[in-house]
């Protein structure tokens, strides 16, 4: 699975996700990627793209969860994204990238690693696979 989220200087947000799914999946199996609110979601607060075990991500509506936690519980993007990944299912099932309307970035995951990269207008960039520490 691959994905990208972006916000411009005017606060416009978008999310895009694409995948081949699971190795050895049944023919006709749908994963989280095309399910809006599960693997992909964007509203006026944030944009989210998820990856991992699709069946868990669909059950937990992970991408929408991040936006809802920000909207109804007033969590920051970082807090909301971390909580949504933590609640998504057992260790090893999920990761996501997200940006917020005010240019915050979050890339939490509960797997061993996640191929990820980000950049912000204030000059911060990161390209990584495993935890930084």
């Amino acid at each position: 699975t691959v994905g990208c989220v972006a916000v411009d200087s005017a606060g416009n947000l978008a999310s895009a996700t694409s995948t081949g799914g699971y190795v050895n999946k049944m023919v006709g199996r749908i994963g989280d990627t095309p399910v809006i609110g599960a693997g992909t979601y964007a509203n006026h607060l944030c944009a989210v793209s998820a990856t991992g075990k699709g069946e868990y991500i669909i059950r937990a509506t992970v991408a929408r969860e991040v936006a809802a936690l920000m909207e109804y519980k007033g969590l920051s993007l970082t807090e909301a994204a971390a909580y949504a990944v933590e609640q998504s299912g057992p260790r090893g099932c999920c990761g996501l990238v997200a940006v917020s309307a005010n240019g915050e970035v979050a890339m939490p995951y509960n797997t061993t690693g996640m191929f990820r990269a980000c950049a912000t207008e204030d000059g911060y960039t990161e390209v990584a696979i495993w935890p930084k520490n």
Binding site: T1, V2, G3, C4, V5, A6, V7, D8, S9, A10, N12, L13, A14, S15, A16, S18, T19, G20, G21, Y22, V23, N24, V27, G28, R29, I30, G31, T33, P34, V35, I36, A42, H44, L45, A47, S49, G52, K53, E55, Y56, G92, V97, A98, V99, S100, N102, G103, V105, A106, T111, T112, G113, F115, R116, A117, C118, A119, T120, E121, V127
Partner: protein
Amino acid sequence: MVGWAIALHGGAGDIPMDLPDERRIPRETALRHCLDLGVSALKSGRHPLDVTELVVRELENHPDFNAGKGSVLTTQGTVEMEASIMDGKTKRCGAVSGLTTVVNPISVARLVMEKTPHIYLGFDGAQAFARAHGVETVESSHFITPENIARLKQAKEFNRVQLDYTAPTPNLPEVSGDSQIG
């Protein structure tokens, strides 16, 4: 408003910490290339919808990631690709599943968002819609890499579906007649 920002991923999973350099470096280089592509598009004032589509197309074209070329295989050894895209301000969105010959599924998802009253098209309908809109298509074999043929074989041997990078483990007890694990 603080300023623009972008984040991208190439999949998560049980990526072994001892991943050999010849498999790690091309992926890191591709991530950096796609990041640079997205940043320059944002800096030149492109809308985030265009930026995310552009970056995901680039990732789909890279055989080391599980999307587009390099998509993993079904139990029948075929490719069934899916994608979606969403605009935050309007909540407009588009999604496709079951594409077998389209080079960039994310662009078909965008066409669904912009050219139909629907959100989600699947399988034969999505394939027909893609053809009708003249998006680039190739033989399904274009998407199948030797690495993914080997991974399917491995997954079958261990009788399991496999997350993007999870190393296969020995056979798991079958539950109700078929493997229940993701």
